[in-house]
């Protein structure tokens, strides 16, 4: 493989793309749309999973202790359950400070004055290893002597994970459908190119071009559509995603999206690699059905 060979192959490829004109445009566009849709599903799944993770890390059970309960004993008993991941105690003073902070950052002392005394109990905060075990751990806690009340926030994590799972399945279905359509279109385009070049291919065979040399321009043509589709879809996706990110940050600040420049670069590369893969496989299919004799 020398320089003039590379030049020849690239020239052949580019000529074919230009000669196919509209069909080339349609193929690249189709590739872009396919990648766009796949990107959409990917980003939704990724973010739901990310949010579920964030929620899971926050998820815990508040175990309010009775007045003069044996805190150390209760902690020991809780540790006896395999599903418990973390235990932290919270005194009634800390509870009051937290409460004051939630209520708008007032001085905790002023609350005590207003209420006469601190009404909040001492508590133990329990985090299960797996957020799915929340209810089970809470049940265990309820049965321990000296516990006034067991509270935990209604499980969002599980719902997010279920949603993420559903979207992932829809994404896989979409990926298969779009993938098949893309492969079909790419292979049809390549077949058109082969047809347009049949005389040339015949001559190449007669003057002793190797099969791989004859095939390479077609593979490159498929890869070209992958690169074009990948680039266009990446630009569109990242532009709209950064808009969504800005919107969420401003209006839905409880949500947290995956967003960084490293992520953008990785995402672009991923889209490109997917596109090239689709393009090359599509070409190979087109070549296989039309150039068996080559």
């Amino acid at each position: 493989m020398n320089l003039s060979m590379v030049e020849f192959l690239l020239q052949q490829t580019w000529q074919a793309i230009r000669r196919n004109g509209l069909m080339s445009l349609a193929t690249s566009s189709n590739m872009a749309v396919a990648l766009l849709i796949l990107s959409g599903f990917f980003l939704m799944t990724l973010n739901l999973q990310h949010m579920a993770d964030v929620e899971a890390r926050k998820a815990n059970i508040t175990v309010d202790l009775e007045e003069d309960a044996d805190a150390a004993g209760i902690e020991a008993e809780l540790w006896g359950d395999m599903r418990v991941g973390e235990i932290r105690s919270r005194s009634k003073e800390e509870a009051l400070e937290d409460y004051a902070a939630i209520m708008g950052g007032g001085d905790p002392e002023s609350f005590v004055e207003a209420l006469g005394e601190n009404p909040l109990p001492d508590a133990i905060i329990v985090s299960p290893k797996d957020p799915q075990d929340m209810a089970a751990v809470a049940d265990v806690a309820r049965n321990i002597e000296g516990i006034a009340e067991v509270r935990y926030r209604e499980q969002v994590t599980g719902k997010l994970l279920t949603l993420a799972h559903g979207i992932k399945i829809a994404g896989v279905v979409a990926a298969v459908l779009m993938g098949v359509a893309t492969l079909l279109i790419v292979s049809t385009t390549i077949r058109l190119t082969i047809y347009a070049r049949r005389r040339e291919i015949r001559i190449m065979q007669l003057v002793g071009a190797t099969n791989s040399f004859i095939r390479l321009p077609f593979i490159l043509e498929g890869a070209f559509h992958g690169v074009m589709g990948g680039a266009v879809s990446t630009i569109l996706v990242l532009a709209s995603y950064s808009w969504v990110h800005a919107y969420v940050a401003q209006h839905l600040s409880f949500m947290e999206l995956v967003y960084s420049s490293t992520f953008a670069v990785l995402f672009g590369l991923g889209a490109m690699v997917c596109g090239i893969l689709f393009g090359v496989v599509g070409s190979v299919i087109g070549l296989h059905s039309y150039l068996r004799e080559v």
């Binding site: 493989m1 020398n2 320089l3 003039s4 060979m5 020849f8 005389r199 040339e200 015949r202 001559i203 190449m204 065979q205 007669l206 003057v207 002793g208 071009a209 190797t210 099969n211 040399f213 004859i214």
Partner: protein, 228 residues
């Protein structure tokens, strides 16, 4: 150089195109392959450039048995066997120079090699002046010269011609055959299928006659179309 031993070809549809062919053509020899349409001339030539494998027999090209040649070796055989046809098979969107260079492009020749070999090949066929012309700007004879230049640019030991004058006027045909004999004198082995009686009679070269897929006559010392 070309050596066929006991070769038969039966096409998948059952047509028996060649039977019991024994033929040897030496280095630098020029031989006509004559016979009516359907007598098996093209089939025999196909065997030489491995477009076809024989049903029976051995085909030795430059000392190598090509019947069992693995498919991936075929391109390398083809670089040693130039082929020309009745219909020239030039690329219409490439000029003469590019058409000839095409045979070098696809075998990965360097730029330097191209600039050395293409002018030599065009000079050999007498077309140096027309290197920038496109096929549709050339006469039939000139187009056939370009295709000869393309077939020879890789310096093959063998040149196979399938009715090279089939589309040409008699005097132009004559010029093309003269060119081919000149090329044979330089050491290229040439096997030329034709049913052009005038040319064969005029050249007094070796004549191999096919009838119904068998060799009925081989005038090794030179002869006419149907008399020794």
């Amino acid at each position: 150089m070309i050596h066929l031993q006991g070769v038969s070809v039966v096409y998948p549809d059952g047509t028996r195109a060649l039977s019991g062919i024994d033929l040897q053509v030496d280095r630098g020899e020029f031989a006509f392959l004559v016979g009516a349409s359907g007598s098996g001339k093209s089939t025999l030539l196909h065997l030489v450039y491995r477009e076809l494998t024989p049903t029976e027999g051995r085909i030795i090209i430059s000392g190598q048995d090509v019947a069992g040649l693995p498919r991936e070796r075929v391109p390398y055989l083809r670089r040693n066997v130039g082929v020309i046809f009745q219909d020239f098979r030039l690329l219409p969107d490439k000029n003469c120079w590019e058409n000839v260079a095409f045979a070098l492009d696809v075998v990965g020749a360097s730029r330097k090699e191209k600039y050395r070999k293409v002018p030599l090949a065009l000079e050999l066929v007498g077309l140096s002046e027309k290197e920038q012309s496109f096929p549709n700007e050339l006469s039939g004879g000139e187009q056939q010269r370009v295709s000869i230049a393309r077939a020879l640019v890789n310096n093959p030991a063998i040149l196979v011609a399938d009715e090279p004058t089939g589309n040409l006027d008699p005097d132009i045909s004559w010029e093309i055959i003269q060119l081919l004999t000149k090329i044979a004198e330089r050491g290229t082995t040439i096997l030329c299928a034709t049913h052009d009686r005038v040319i064969v009679d005029g050249m007094r070269k070796r004549v191999v006659s096919l009838v119904g897929g068998t060799i009925v006559r081989d005038a090794r010392g030179g002869g006419g179309y149907d008399e020794p």
